[in-house]
Amino acid sequence: MRSQTYNKTMVDKIWNFFSSVKVGIWIIIVILIAAAIGTIFPQEMYIPPNVDPTTYYKEEYGTPGQIFYLLGFHNLYGSWWFLLLLAALGISLIIVSIDRGFPLYRALKYQRVTRHESFMKRQRLFAVSDSGISMDRVKRVLAKKHYKIKEDNGNILAEKNRFSRWGPYVNHAGLIIFLIGAMLRFFPGMYTDQTLWIREGETVAVPGTKTEDGQYYLKNHKFIMELYDKKDKDYSAALDKTGNPVPKNYQSNVTLYHAGPSDVVGAKPELKKERDAKIKVNEPLSFNDYSLYQVDFKLNEFHRMNLKLENKKSGKSYGEIKVNLFNPKSTYVLGNGYKVEMVEYFPNFKLDENDQPTTENSVPDNPAFVFKMFTPETPKGETAFIGIRKNVEAGDNKYKMSFSGIETKNVSALTVKKDKTLPIIIIGGIIFMLGVVQGLYWNHRRIWIQQRNGQLWIAAHTNKNWFGLKREMQNISEDSGLVMPIDQSDEKSA
């Protein structure tokens, strides 16, 4: 082992530090405890999106919450020191494997058949008996138990399942590959994670999918939400108890397009249809390196609002205007000298701190308008402010705008994901599992049989599962006449 040979330079010291299994175990335990503390209160990514974390933790969880926040546990798993711990674990895995793996390999490859007397005596299972049994029979019995037999001067080394000794090194290699894969995410081009809100009927560019070859586009035909039927005979009892409707399906029916690179800036892309698809929870749409996931939705978002121009006294209507809430016109002509001008539009109306009308954002959740209505009777125009359950007019208007209908559309939220690290992570995971199984489900067993001064010496060793070895030795001794070795650790404790 390198760690036991050199101890001079800084590199040696670091090497020696990380080559200790004890240090490795401590790193595991520190990660474990830190990870556990991180679950006491929710991580920052799981608190409501529109709250301030500096005050949230104190208000919600009191002083412990404040301490949690101040110590940085609210963002533990992305914190520099947690990542440093993971890195330390990775380094420890690499160094321990190199430091122990190669010497063990050499030791087992070049092991001698005839071992020293004291080596034999030191083994936990050991016995001395009179010789005089058939060694051929012993060999036959051992071979039947799948032992590989090496001979030297009539002495025997029987060995099996040596490969299980490589299990730890294989699983450590798998973990290292896994950690490398997880690290690669931070390299540009390996990983994309974006959200796409797309309304029914809309065709939009899929964010994060632009390359030299062009870009993907997506059209959302329809968003579907299904609920379980309360009268469903299998589930009625459970559905009655919860009271709330239980969702059955969230689905977006979409068409995927691809457009080649465009030379002219601002030119309309030429869309080539790739395929139709249904994106459901658990059934993402995958193409190239990308996957689109159904993650959220908004039902019945206002899309178009219909209003009528009416005479206040007679109630007579002079025509209807249809306002596209995402793209309203400035003038709506109704003919015969009647028209409506849209002076101002607030898609998501609210009053600011000076009580002036303004809009929170461009999503038409609470649309409000300032209209100017022109009629032959009022050629200068009358102004009115119209909102949902709000109607403000200037003085003695003769005409008014009244709501006559609304059209809504559903909106799907999709996550666009590209993760080129996945194959590496999968390979790491598979190698890890194989290594763990290899190391834990088989046991390396060795039996030495030697002729010494007319006596037969037997010793047996396993790296683990002594009970199984003893049982096997019992069988071997019954079948071959070999004496059953004694467990020297029993004798000590007795």
Binding site: I25, I28, T39, Y46, P64, D193, A237, N282, M433
Partner: protein
């Protein structure tokens, strides 16, 4: 089909109970005439056969419920916990097959019984699957994870027997106290079942109105008298009122109700423990110890280790690898530091540390057994507390 399913579970429960008694009887040393070893072996076989029979009956429950609900019955706390108990029995059957140790049955079967009884305190209605759960990975991930946890639990059982067998009971030490605490907690589970069953039989109910974390008005119905009410809640009836409010940081679904039941369990566990101590007039583990004296500590240590060796890869596969594959499909990422995920990782890291301590640092016997106890506490924490206290994506199970 649903009724048949419940009946089969009930039958399994009864058979497990009988198997426990048979295993316990096989350890008794009152039979003077007969050859002791033969006696133990014979009744051990009967107990083992009964365990297998009970398991088959529970398997019947599982299959029929699957048919009735149209999906693998591992989708809520009742179904998952019942399945976990079943996997404990399966792991016991597996390990008894290798080691033929009756004492394992005396402890593993009642603990599995407690788990199944605990499960039956949750709503048992067959519920439909929400979209996030509609995946083949539901059955693959959850069953493998539960099997892994079941096998790992046997390492706790064997470790516990080891400790009761070897810890010096002639005087009171930290170790004897720890063992009594374990006994106390097992009695708490029993206490929980007792309180819930008595309240259910009496039809007790009291409800509260309060505003929860998401600013929604919620009505909470307690099935046991309210010692702990929801924060800022008002009681809707004039039943026995809450003495204190539950802490506001408890976030899980219906946390105040669960916390109240938890307090009840601790209290009843305490009363039960007191009664047992009064009857025995010594520590519970000290009373059990003489029955275990003819067991080899070495063998128990081996069983405990072997369970980890078999269970650890299964757990890793089910609770981490299959979990990651599914998470990638349903939640767009294979890892997201959700509390349940983190606790699965903690369980994994803990048993990884155990294996290193044992295989590399030579921690055998007592130290190793205490570690197995801690491991089981972590598994139970992930099963119970993560759902009680912490809100997360796994809130349905």
């Amino acid at each position: 089909m649903a009724e048949l399913s419940s009946t089969l579970l009930y039958i399994a429960f009864i058979i497990y109970l009988i198997a426990t008694l048979v295993f316990a009887m096989s350890l008794s040393d009152k039979k003077g005439k007969e050859n002791k070893a033969a006696y133990t072996r014979r009744w051990g076989r009967v107990g083992y056969a009964l365990s297998i029979l009970g398991f088959i009956s529970q398997l019947g429950y599982f299959v029929t419920r699957w048919i009735a609900s149209g999906h693998a019955p591992v989708s809520n706390l009742f179904e998952f916990t019942t399945f976990f108990g079943m996997m404990m029995v399966f792991a016991f059957i597996l390990l008894y097959g290798i080691y033929k140790t009756n004492a394992l049955g005396v402890f593993a079967m009642p603990i599995a019984l407690l788990v199944i009884a605990y499960a039956s305190m949750f709503p048992k209605d067959i519920a439909p699957l929400i979209p996030a759960l509609q995946s083949d990975w539901l059955k693959i991930h959850v069953t493998t994870a539960a099997l892994g946890e079941g096998i790992l639990s046997i390492s706790f059982v064997a470790g516990l027997i080891f400790l009761i067998r070897v810890v010096d009971q002639t005087r009171s030490t930290k170790k004897t106290k720890m063992l009594e605490i374990i006994m106390y907690f097992l009695l708490c589970v029993f206490g929980f079942i007792l309180v819930s069953a008595i309240s259910a039989a009496a039809g007790y109910e009291t409800s509260f109105n309060f505003t929860d974390k998401k600013d929604q008005k919620v009505e909470l119905t307690y099935n046991v008298p309210a010692l702990v009410g929801p924060p800022n809640g008002t009681q809707a009836d004039d039943h026995f009122g809450p003495l204190v409010a539950s802490p506001s940081w408890m976030n899980g679904e219906q946390a105040p109700r669960k916390f109240n039941t938890f307090i009840w369990s601790l209290l009843t566990g305490g009363v039960l423990y007191g009664i047992v101590r009064l009857i025995l007039r010594k520590r519970i583990s000290a009373a059990i110890q003489p029955k275990l004296m003819n067991l080899k500590p070495d063998l128990l240590d081996e069983i405990s280790y072997r369970s980890v060796a078999i269970g650890f890869p299964v757990f890793t596969l089910g609770a981490l690898i299959f979990a990651m594959i599914w998470a990638q499909e349903a939640w767009t990422r294979f890892w997201g530091w959700d509390p349940k995920e983190v606790w699965a990782l903690i369980t994994f890291l803990f048993y990884a540390a155990y294996l290193h301590f044992r295989l590399s640092r030579g921690w055998h016997g007592e130290k190793s057994a205490w570690l197995c106890v801690i491991g089981f506490v972590i598994i139970m924490f992930n099963l119970i507390a993560v759902n009680l206290v912490i809100s997360g994506l796994h809130s349905y199970a």
